[in-house]
């Protein structure tokens, strides 16, 4: 911190920034502290209780009771709406009271970089053996050192087979739709997925931080905007059901929600390739009951919990035993659940953008306000 160069001349400002610095230290934003605490493998879990922060409806409803039965530890569930909000809350406050948080892979990476998460003690999570081959080597967290995967999937085009002449095969079908589909396509609004179709169509990485490449991406997306019905992260499959849209950019699991209502709604990963997103579990550094926190993560890796997620959220889980438990008719009804781990691993794993995050956000503003 070579920050306070102006101290002498501006006592007030200096005082303010000292208060701030104190606040920041108190805020637990201590950077670089990634030392693991000593955990006791034989701790009495019945004396521990944890708070788990998750999106609503992302775990079995009776998970708390079952977990207590299985391990003796008690738990409470709290909810967050987005990765971003949880991240901001964890950064701004000193102790959120949360022990285990569910966040997407690139956010687990950013939390780890800021020293906010406890490294995973693999010996306390024996069920990590249930994880599919290959999910250990993803770029947001090599070796699952700081996070444990819960669900995963990819992004593609969700479309109405009865309303398009030919099934889309390329991101360009979405970005430069044929005349009859103009105004009947949507793309996602969240930065990474807003960029993804153009990045892949142009043959770039979904994690590119190259300014020239991103300039081309921007041009392509500005041109695509005039053919869009909307940027839509949350209601796109509803637009497909009503027929106002015929093709939308979608996560595989969400497309399944459309298929549930109308079997003409189908999902395809374009030929140019796509991303691989992972929703993970992390233990927060501030947790006072880290043994129970690990026990919880271990518990959720039980095959029947993974199978619950696949059956109820219609997401793939990187847990082979769980996928094997799925009924055949479910897989038949929702083809995205048939893909193998190898196929998913062809997608490019999303990582935190570091300094380039500001460039992405500025480009999003420029594209959506164009």
């Amino acid at each position: 911190m070579k920050a306070l160069a102006f101290t002498g001349r501006r006592p007030l400002a200096a005082a303010a920034s000292l208060v701030l610095a104190a606040a920041l230290v108190a805020c637990g934003g201590s950077d670089g502290d990634d030392s693991a605490s000593d955990l006791d493998p034989d701790a009495d879990l019945s004396k521990q209780s944890i708070v788990v922060s998750n999106w609503a409806d992302y775990m079995p409803e009776d998970v708390a009771e079952k977990f207590e039965e299985a391990t003796g530890a008690s738990m409470e569930v709290t909810n967050h709406a987005t990765n971003e909000e949880l991240m901001a809350k964890l950064t701004a406050g000193s102790d959120s009271g949360i022990d285990v948080a569910f966040v997407s892979g690139q956010f687990a990476q950013a939390l780890a970089e800021q020293g906010l998460v406890e490294p995973i003690h693999a010996d306390l999570v024996p069920n990590m053996d249930n994880l599919a081959e290959g999910v250990q080597n993803l770029s947001y967290d090599e070796g699952n050192k700081n996070s444990v995967p819960y669900t995963w999937g990819t992004t593609g085009i969700c479309y109405r087979a009865d309303l398009v002449d030919e099934a889309p095969t390329s991101w360009n079908d979405l970005l430069e739709p044929a005349d009859e589909y103009k105004g009947k396509v949507t793309m996602m609004a969240t930065d990474r997925w807003l960029m993804l179709p153009a990045q892949k169509a142009l043959g770039f990485s979904a994690n590119t931080t190259d300014e020239d490449e991103m300039a081309q991406v921007k041009d392509k997306l500005v041109a695509a905007k005039k053919n869009l019905l909307a940027y839509d992260d949350t209601t796109f499959y509803e637009r497909l059901i009503s027929g106002e849209a015929v093709m939308v950019e979608a996560w595989d699991g969400w497309c399944n929600y459309g298929t549930a209502e109308n079997e003409n709604i189908k999902f395809v990963v374009p030929d140019e390739g796509s991303d691989l997103w992972v929703d993970t579990m992390v233990v927060l550094k501030t947790s006072k009951n880290k043994e129970a926190a690990h026990a919880f993560i271990n518990y959720l890796l039980e095959p029947e919990n993974g199978a619950w997620a696949a059956e109820n959220i219609l997401y793939n889980v990187p847990n082979q035993k769980a996928m094997d438990m799925l009924p055949a008719d479910l897989k038949a009804q929702y083809p995205p659940l048939q893909v193998t781990a190898e196929q998913l691993l062809e997608g490019e794993s999303l990582t935190d953008l570091g300094e380039a995050a500001t460039m992405y956000t500025q480009l999003v503003t420029e594209i959506t306000s164009s």
Binding site: L4, E84, A110, A230, T235, A357, T361, T365, T368, S369
Partner: protein, 299 residues
């Protein structure tokens, strides 16, 4: 308020003492509360404006002016102008709807007034998200508005209503209408109806009576209501996303994106500071106008 004290005929010293006590009792708790729970927290965030974003978010305490240069770049200026237009349109529309309604409520017998006010706010005790979803249902191609227009034969093909600038304006008016109606009501119900009648009886036309008597007297309420609608409209990011299809960007979206998506708190704080300065200036103007009306006003 020394002039009040000096004009009081009773013992001056006693009044001064009691009024000093009273002044403190009235002002200190409120201002203290604002200082503790608004000023200190907001300053904690706004002091980031001179610093930089850390590589993975957070704040690095190295002094810089860069944030201000970025804040006034053409991209953000364009967003600001566009937001001002949309929020301005929503405010004008809310005033046009809200004024006659507040007036009507103020004319109701006492017993019905509070009930009417509560009826105005009850829709807003439901969740904002589902209310906005309801507007998507109403405005979509197959929605109620289009179907009704088709049935009465005004249109043949559905109009594009959803994901337009107009949809954003309507959504904002709907979101903040009570913030217009309630202050207007508080101001209008104070009017002496006989005043207006007197003006009309003296031969003034209804419009002239309104323009010369009613309107200036209710101006403080009008200004308050307009600020209450205009300000949150600028900051709203859900309506532009859901009803505008994310194709219109408001200041609120930009500030949110910097804090949450880019995790660039210093720049987010800078954009927020610019916004706050503009908005506090509005309050200052409102206060000036109101105070002029109350002291040197139309007597």
């Amino acid at each position: 308020m020394t002039d009040l004290i000096s004009s009081t005929p009773t013992g001056r010293g006693a009044v001064e003492r009691s009024s000093r006590w009273e002044r403190a009792a009235l002002l200190v708790p409120g201002l203290g509360y604002v200082s503790a729970f608004m000023a200190v927290p907001v300053l904690l965030v706004l002091s980031y404006v001179f610093f930089q974003r850390g590589r993975f978010g957070g704040v690095v305490y190295e002094f810089t002016w860069d944030n201000f240069a970025r804040a006034f770049s053409p991209t953000y200026r364009a967003v600001l102008v566009d937001s001002l237009v949309i929020a301005g349109a929503a405010t004008v529309l809310a005033l046009l709807i809200g004024y006659p309604v507040a007036y009507a409520i103020a004319m109701l017998p006492d017993r019905l007034r509070t009930i009417a006010l509560v009826l105005v706010v009850i829709p807003f005790w439901t969740n904002f998200l589902v209310r906005t979803y309801a507007w998507i249902v109403l405005l979509s191609n197959e929605g109620l508005v289009n179907r009704s227009l088709e049935r009465i034969g005004v249109i043949e093909d559905p109009l594009t209503l959803l994901y337009t600038r107009g949809a954003v304006v309507v959504g904002l008016v709907y979101a903040y209408l009570p913030l217009m109606i309630l202050p207007l009501y508080a101001s209008i119900s104070k009017l002496d109806p006989e005043l207006r009648e007197a003006a009309t009886n003296l031969g003034a036309s209804r419009f002239k009576a309104f323009r010369t008597v009613t309107w200036p007297l209710t101006l403080p309420g009008v200004l308050t209501g307009c600020i209450f609608v205009f300000v949150p409209s600028l900051g709203n990011f859900i309506v532009p996303e859901l009803l505008g299809g994310g194709k219109f960007v408001m200041v609120g979206n930009v500030v949110r994106d910097q804090f949450l998506k880019a995790r660039d708190w210093p720049f987010g704080a800078t954009l927020a500071l610019v916004l706050i300065v503009v908005l506090v200036a509005l309050f200052f103007v409102q206060s000036r106008v109101s105070r002029r009306l109350s002291t040197g006003g139309p007597s």
